[in-house]
Every structure is written in C-alpha cells, then in structure tokens.
C-alpha cells in the first residue's frame, strides 16, 4: 500500500494520465461539489466503481472541510485547507486525503484506524451500526462513521500516516484503494 508521501512523489514523477483528481488548497462546499461531479464524469464508464469513489470522496472531503487545522482567511470566509488525490494504476484506484491536524487528535485517529483495520466486512458493518446508534460527540459534525464507511467501501485496510510538524501540529494523511472492476472496463 502506498503512503500519502509515496503518492505525492508518484504524481511528481509519473505521467499525469495516472491522475484522476488532484486538488490542494482551500476546500469549500462549491469546490467539493465540482470535484465530485468531475469524478462522476470521469468514471461514468465504470458505474459501480464510480459510486464507490464518489462516496469515499464525499466522506473524506467533508473531513477536511470540518476538521483541517489549516485555515485561510479571505474576506469574511475562513476556509480549511487540504489535499485530495485520486490516482490509478492498472488494477486499483488510490484515494488520498491529507490535511493539517492538531496533535491532540492523532492518538484517537490512530486508535480508530487500528480498530477498523482489525475488522472484516461483517465486523465493519456491525461496528458502523453500533457507532451510528450512539449519540454524536461534540466534535463530530457528521455521524462519526465516515472512516468506517470508507473502509467498508474500499474493502482494503486504511493506510493512515502522520508527519509531525512541531509539538502542536501534524500532517495527517489517509490512503485507501479500490479495486478496479475489470468487467466494467
């Protein structure tokens, strides 16, 4: 499995036809909607894969929108910054998201990732149902089950990485892959 940093490197080094989506910068609702439409347009020939990539995109882009610790002020706006990449090789689509986070959240995220990666498909279904029926935590603007959903859709372990900038902040990145459906090609 690639790490986020491998993927960045790959984009720098390989032909751009491997890149499906690459975005780095302030993420707004409008940009997110446009990128999601772009994904649908590009993957329209593979409807099943398209649904998966689209659903992963919405959950991970929302995480940046809600939680990125890097913000930019523009007029009255206060947008959060992150990176979203979708690249492909012959067999898989790789989806990567990254953003700056406060170090106080790294432990919880790693723990969640470990729990999720230890579960099989049915285990993930049960875990998602359990978490969905719990009252939302204060920090969670969604249902708090986005990562579980992403792992279920992907069918592969989540690859989570942290690069510590200083004692307060790290770069958080998450990679997932989705197997291409040969019959749809």
């Amino acid at each position: 499995m690639h790490t986020a940093f491998d993927l960045q490197e790959q984009i720098n080094q390989t032909a751009t036809d491997k890149v499906v989506i690459a975005y780095k910068g302030p993420l707004t609702d409008v940009i997110m909607a446009e990128l999601s439409r772009h994904i649908r347009m590009k993957l329209a020939h593979e409807p099943k894969i398209c649904r998966k990539i689209f659903a992963i995109f919405i959950e991970l882009a929302q995480n940046i929108l809600f939680y990125s610790a890097e913000k930019v002020n523009f007029g009255y706006r206060n947008d959060r910054i992150g990176t979203l990449l979708v690249i492909q090789d012959d067999n898989y689509y790789y989806f990567m998201s990254s953003n700056k986070i406060e170090n106080i959240y790294t432990h919880e995220l790693l723990h969640n990732c470990k729990v999720i990666n230890a579960l099989d498909k049915e285990g993930l279904r049960r875990y998602k149902r359990e978490q969905r029926s719990r009252p939302s935590k204060d920090r969670s603007k969604g249902a708090g089950i986005g990562l579980i959903q992403v792992a279920m859709i992907s069918g592969y372990p989540l690859q989570m990485d942290f690069y510590e900038f200083d004692e307060d902040f790290s770069l958080y990145s998450l990679c997932v892959k989705v197997k291409k459906n040969k019959s749809e090609k």
Binding site: R125, G142, A143
Partner: protein, 131 residues
C-alpha cells in the same frame, strides 16, 4: 396543530449539495424520499421530515413510506434511521405502516444499507430492486 398540517414537498436539487426530493402527502399518507442526500445541514433537513411525520401520526392514519435513494452520506444515514425509528414507534402504537426500499439492481452496498436499517430499526421494509 394537526388540523393545519399540510403536505410537505421539497424539490430535489443537485447543486453545491444534493437535496433529495421529498413528497409527503397529508391526504393519502403516501410519503416518498428519493434521489441523493448530501446536505448542508443534515440534522435540520431530517428534523423537518421527522417533525412532519410526528404530526401526521397524530391523525392515526396509514403511512406508506417509499425510499428510493441512490446516494446518501453517513450523516444522512443517521437521519434516515431516525425516520425508521419513528415509523417503528408508530407501528408499535398500532399505526398502519408500510415501508418500501428501492435500490438499483447492481448496487449491493445500497441493499446492505437497507438490510442494516431493517436490523437497527426492527421495522420490516419491502426491498425492491430496479434497473
């Protein structure tokens, strides 16, 4: 309050957000939620639907609820579950409830979601595939 209840109609939209179309008929109890659900304020949207249903159930009339959602994010799934809990409560209180879940034939993830909704809400849903 119940007497003044009117049908609830929300036009489905796909813009910056994805708003499902809502058609709740106060005369027939025929309620439909269709399209895609990814919303700016998920709780506000689904609260509106559950509040309407709560008021409707005071009329003690039958409800036929039909879901035909091609996409919903995880936040929306919590709102959908709230609707199902409400319908289950109504059924337990003696209300006549009939729920249909339409899913694209080739979308097993959508079907799995429906099965999990049934398990969580303990409400029977008729699962109907379409092409």
């Amino acid at each position: 309050m119940t007497e003044s209840l009117e049908s609830l109609n929300i036009e489905g939209k796909s813009g910056t957000f994805f708003v499902p179309s809502v058609s709740f008929d106060v005369n027939t109890g025929d309620c439909r939620l269709e399209g895609e659900s990814y919303l700016e304020n998920t709780w506000e949207f689904y609260d509106k639907l559950t509040n309407w249903l709560k008021q409707y159930t005071e009329k003690k009339q039958a409800i036929t609820f039909s879901f035909k959602l091609t996409y919903f994010n995880t936040s929306s799934s919590k709102g959908i579950l709230d609707i199902l809990f409400l319908l289950k409560d109504y059924e337990l209180a003696g209300g006549e409830v009939n729920v249909k879940w339409h899913y694209p034939e080739d979308d097993e993830d959508n079907l799995a979601e429906a099965e999990d909704f049934i398990a969580d809400s303990e409400l029977d849903m008729e699962l109907i595939s379409y092409t």
